[in-house]
């Protein structure tokens, strides 16, 4: 099994979740209110009230095939709006 970590502006959350649902991932977890810094831009919690939101951190545990099938879709969303995606190994308890 794999673990996929996605971090991006929470304004794109709907688009990402739609992509995940389309690929029929077995499940996902969303943590909002994350802040951070990417190559060029600082996201701070205090801008949340402006509607610009903070980041969302999405975790998906799934099989390698699933990862392959959503890769293009997710990468195109992230390349447009910014954000990162990393895969690591995970085994069920």
């Amino acid at each position: 099994m794999k673990r996929l970590d996605l971090i991006f502006s929470d304004r794109e959350l709907d688009a990402i979740l739609e992509a995940l649902e389309q690929a029929q991932v077995p499940g996902y977890t969303v943590m909002k209110h994350a802040t951070g810094r990417g190559p060029e831009r600082v996201v701070t919690e205090d801008m949340e009230f402006t509607g610009m939101g903070a980041n969302a951190h999405v975790i998906i545990f799934c099989e390698q095939e699933m990862i392959d099938s959503i890769r293009d879709n997710i990468k195109s969303i992230l390349s447009y709006y910014g954000g990162v995606a990393y895969v690591s190994e995970a085994t069920p308890l």
């Binding site: 502006s9 304004r11 209110h33 060029e40 831009r41 600082v42 701070t44 919690e45 205090d46 801008m47 949340e48 009230f49 402006t50 509607g51 610009m52 939101g53 903070a54 195109s76 447009y80 709006y81 910014g82």
Partner: protein, 332 residues
């Protein structure tokens, strides 16, 4: 005269709390108002000004100066971004120029509120219908900004990047803060028309509490603005100058329009403030979604770090003097 007005303005609780926040950030005090508490206050303020504006709009009716004033305000929110765009294009690309222009064409509700408090402290009358102008100036500025991108950007952008009218309208009309402001305005109007007893029941929440909540929110705005101010060097001198002189220019433009509309000095000040203020809520949120090519530092650090503090601290009293010169009191 300006300096005495400035001092009076600075010694009002909202501005003092704003400074408390600024100094707190500057001295690295660990005072912070954690998310999502600032959102609570910003939602509350939008709901309350919308509701109060709707109630007063119903009282004054749509006659007299209301329609011309609101239409002029909308025109200003279409015109100002165009002027800004030409000034900014001298230095910036289409994306950045359009996004910043949209912000300056739009308004800042908190600046507006501060101006209202300023007028109340001076016992100068103003009308509730000005809130309608406030509510209706955000969407057009966003639309102009997106159109500038649509027609200004080079034609070789990838197909999926082409903005659709649907999403332009969606971002401009259904942005959370625009929606809440307009919705509350409508609810205030309907309540005043059909259920006047309920207006009194809302009063402790939307009326009495307002001033204190404004202070609390400005405390947070002080912290946030100081953070942005500290990053202002990233935007360059041109933009720093822009974020002070553009509001003054817009204020002057607004003053002339206000005079030609025959507005009383209270309404005229609010009109001027709408023109001079820049959005750090709805517009940046919309721009980030629809014009990700623009650097958000540009339109946030300027509007929030410089234009906003300038307007609420120095701008409002200065604009008041301007209005007093343009519109001699007692004439209207």
């Amino acid at each position: 005269m300006e300096s005495s007005l400035i001092i009076k303005n600075v010694l009002s609780p909202p501005i003092l709390f704003f400074f408390l926040g600024v100094i707190g950030f500057a001295t690295k005090s660990d005072l912070e108002i954690p998310a999502p508490l600032p959102k609570l206050f910003s939602l509350y303020l939008l709901l309350a000004i919308g509701f109060k504006g709707g109630v007063e709009l119903q009282a004054s009716g749509l006659s007299g100066q209301v329609i011309p004033t609101v239409c002029s305000a909308i025109l200003m929110s279409l015109l100002i971004p165009l002027i800004c765009f030409f000034i900014l294009r001298l230095k910036f690309n289409v994306y950045n120029s359009a996004a910043i222009s949209a912000a300056y064409g739009s308004i800042s509700a908190v600046t507006f509120i501060t101006a209202e408090s300023f007028l109340e402290a001076q016992n100068i009358h103003f009308d509730g219908f000005m809130v309608a102008a406030l509510a209706l100036m955000e969407s057009p500025a966003i639309i102009v900004g997106l159109l500038l991108v649509k027609f200004g950007a080079s034609k070789d952008i990838p197909s999926k990047r082409i903005m659709k009218w649907r999403s332009i309208l969606h971002e401009s009309m259904l942005n959370g803060s625009v929606y809440l402001l307009l919705g509350s305005l409508l609810i205030g109007f309907l309540t005043a028309a059909y259920n006047p007893a309920a207006v009194a029941k809302m009063q402790p929440f939307t009326g009495k509490l307002f001033f204190g909540a404004e202070c609390f929110f400005l405390l947070d705005m002080g912290i946030v603005a100081a953070q942005r101010l500290s990053r202002l060097h990233q935007v360059g001198k041109y933009l720093i100058a822009f974020s002070i002189f553009m509001p003054i220019f817009n204020a002057f433009l607004g003053g002339l329009v206000a005079k030609s509309l025959g507005l009383e000095s209270g309404n005229a000040l609010l009109f001027v403030v709408l023109c001079a203020s820049a959005s750090y809520l709805a517009v940046p949120a919309a721009m980030r979604m629809t014009v990700p090519e623009a650097r958000s530092t540009y339109y946030i650090s300027t509007t929030l770090g410089l234009t906003f503090p300038f307007n609420i601290v120095i701008g409002i009293p200065v604009y008041m003097s301007l209005v007093n010169k343009l519109i001699p009191p007692g004439v209207t």
